[in-house]
Point group: C2
């Protein structure tokens, strides 16, 4: 295993968080659309318009349980000459002034039908029914094509596949539909000090938090659970893990992107013919953030520190994933600080926070910073739902200061 | 197959939508908690508090890549006597005024360390380093237990398992955690006129939209994909499908809950020893809604009409599922009608709508009703994200009227 110390790598020029964000969006390209089964399309924007294969309803549909009647029979007592359940048209009954047909909601009206009279509005007399004096023409009948006519486009490209859209697709005989699929993601967690759940800890070791966290972040965003590989601080092992992830659209590497002498990621990526798009961002946390591109894949190098890793995933990796699958950007807002906050002099400071309605002022939102005792502290920030962006500065920001927030795209 | 017509069933007393909602919430009981793997807990409220198994950090952790030094060596040029990568404590080096140790972020500080000096703040001179004149005691060292001390509760029962909470659980050695699981749901779609996707249509037949829609609604709510059975209007087949679903917490039966003579559901449920809690609600759509209880299972009878089925799922089935798994109620709000709307004289009218910000008035929301041409029209309402509740009345409500909405709990 290659574990020798080498001198710190060259100092790269740091870019601003806004510039890094722009480079991420430029580098992330929309994935090609493909046909997926309807349920897999749920929540995704459609990549094709969809037209009706026939009229809807396809026939004169009874909209109520009752009797298919002719207008000429209004106010009369007439024979029930047949019964028509939904889904069956085998009967040859024809509705006339002398005879009506008992009909179920959803059934096709027999020839001669002018209206359907609701079951509750007739009186039964053996095999005869007494009809109301006034019958409105066309009442409780949906005419063919009135909901959607054959060839009409009922879904546009870009429409979201909601459950109702899936119902319309299924109605129109579609079993699959073209969507831009969610990107495939691989996670590689590096760090000699990390052990997996269930293993014994030796002195100086800690348990891996980033693997489970990144998997949960991917799932919360709606991605398929990524394959998660844990490797030591070892060039050959990292190279092998990258190679195994090369069919993924996004590779998230945690740890190993800083100036530490064991931090191989930038060199391993260069050896792997990946083009490094940026390395180091003027932000706290997440200064060592790295973005590389290899073919159609984007590789993010995220800090090993769990909070910094979480922040970089929410701000940058999610933005790339959203662009790849045609989703909009993260939801942003503004609120007032519920407690004072000390900015950083040199870097934009992103602080996990709870973003909530202000109980006293309708329409106003407040920001409760949830900073732990250190940037590695994940024990005091787990109820955060947003990052608040604190511009560089020297002076403490008092409670009440208005700041911008980005909401997590979490399920919670 | 039993398809004979029988007289319309007795008229049941209709209850209000508010009363039906209250009965649903009373009948839905919280499911017992169980331990699930961390990823399965994502987004769910925890059913147990969680305490730290040891101190975090567990040792004096270096927070930067640099040199572990003694305060006595400030301003001096001293030997680098060893190297300490993260995860290894095998070296027996002791830091003194004459010798420091190169250290990586995340490593345990050697005995004698007073501070870590960042790599960027020293000058290297072969195997010696020139240290800054002033070294702050404790700088860049996280002391044991400062993030979380052994035995401290870092998660409470009721806290949501966010990705950061999952990171904290994994750090503390937990591989599973107690949550209230999502209810198991079964779907039974009835209707002789319905055929599945990919099958040929005969005259009078239509394709099943409710099966795919209910499956998507369950998935959008975060439930495991329900088993979906499609049966004809046939008592024996419905009974068999209910029997096969009897280990589920929620059974959703679509079609067959109205007064139509082929609508067996109420009688089949009574034969199956299910207690009918209500049948028929003073609402449009969804008047035939039925709720029954059998042991710990709730059985919903939903109208076959896809829009009515969708509405009843969103308002009633989701409320029961949320109560069972400890989630809050649906998000509600108020907005102004963007177009006039005609209420129903006799029933509360729930209209699918798009609920959006009003572009001209910050903080205000508007309601765009998305009524299709009929209550069975799913082609013109698929971009709805809410139901607007229109109280009973005779007069048309003008644009600008303020009304209450319930948002769907959809992924879109």
């Amino acid at each position: 295993m290659a574990t020798a110390f080498v001198p710190a790598s060259r100092i790269s020029t740091m870019i601003s968080p806004a510039e890094a964000y722009r480079i991420v969006l430029d580098a992330a390209l929309p994935l090609p659309a493909r046909r997926v089964p309807l349920l897999e399309a749920l929540g995704k924007p459609l990549a094709e318009p969809v037209r009706a294969d026939r009229n809807y309803p396809p026939f004169r549909r009874a909209m109520m349980d009752g009797y298919a009647v002719s207008l000429a029979s209004a106010g009369r007592t007439i024979d029930v000459i047949g019964r028509r359940p939904a889904g069956r048209t085998t009967s040859s009954d024809i509705v006339t002034a002398q005879g009506c047909v008992e009909i179920a909601t959803g059934a096709a009206c027999p020839p001669g039908t002018d209206a359907v009279v609701r079951k509750e509005h007739v009186r039964c007399d053996g095999h005869r029914v007494i009809l109301p004096a006034v019958i409105e023409p066309g009442r409780h009948i949906a005419e063919p094509g009135t909901e959607c006519s054959k060839g009409e486009g009922f879904l546009k490209a870009g429409d979201i596949a909601t459950p109702l859209a899936i119902a319309a697709l299924a109605s129109a005989g579609r079993r699959d539909v073209a969507v831009v699929p969610a990107p495939r993601m691989a996670v590689i967690v590096t760090g000699e000090e990390l052990v997996g759940g269930g293993q014994d800890l030796r002195d100086g070791q800690i348990r891996d938090a980033n693997g489970p966290m990144l998997t949960a972040l991917a799932a919360a965003f709606g991605l398929a659970p990524p394959e998660c590989r844990r490797v030591g601080d070892d060039r050959i092992a990292i190279q092998a893990a990258l190679e195994a992830s090369s069919d993924c659209d996004l590779v998230v590497l945690s740890g190993g992107a800083s100036v530490g002498t064991l931090d191989f990621a930038p060199r391993v990526l260069a050896d792997w013919d990946a083009e490094i798009l940026f390395h180091k961002v003027r932000q706290k946390p997440g200064k060592p953030l790295l973005l590389a591109r290899r073919g159609a894949s984007l590789v993010f190098g995220l800090p090993g520190n769990p909070l910094a890793c979480h922040f970089c995933f929410c701000r940058y990796v999610q933005a790339a994933a959203a662009k790849m699958c045609g989703r909009g950007p993260a939801i942003t807002g503004e609120g007032r600080l519920a407690a004072p906050l000390q900015p950083d002099r040199g870097r934009t400071f992103f602080v996990p926070a709870r973003f909530d309605r202000e109980p006293s002022t309708p329409g106003a939102w407040q920001i409760h910073p949830l900073r732990g005792v250190s940037s590695a502290d994940i024990f005091h920030s787990h109820q955060a739902n947003a990052y608040v962006e604190v511009p560089r500065g020297a002076e403490e920001l008092p409670a009440g200061t208005t700041l911008a927030v980005s909401l997590f795209a979490h399920v919670a």
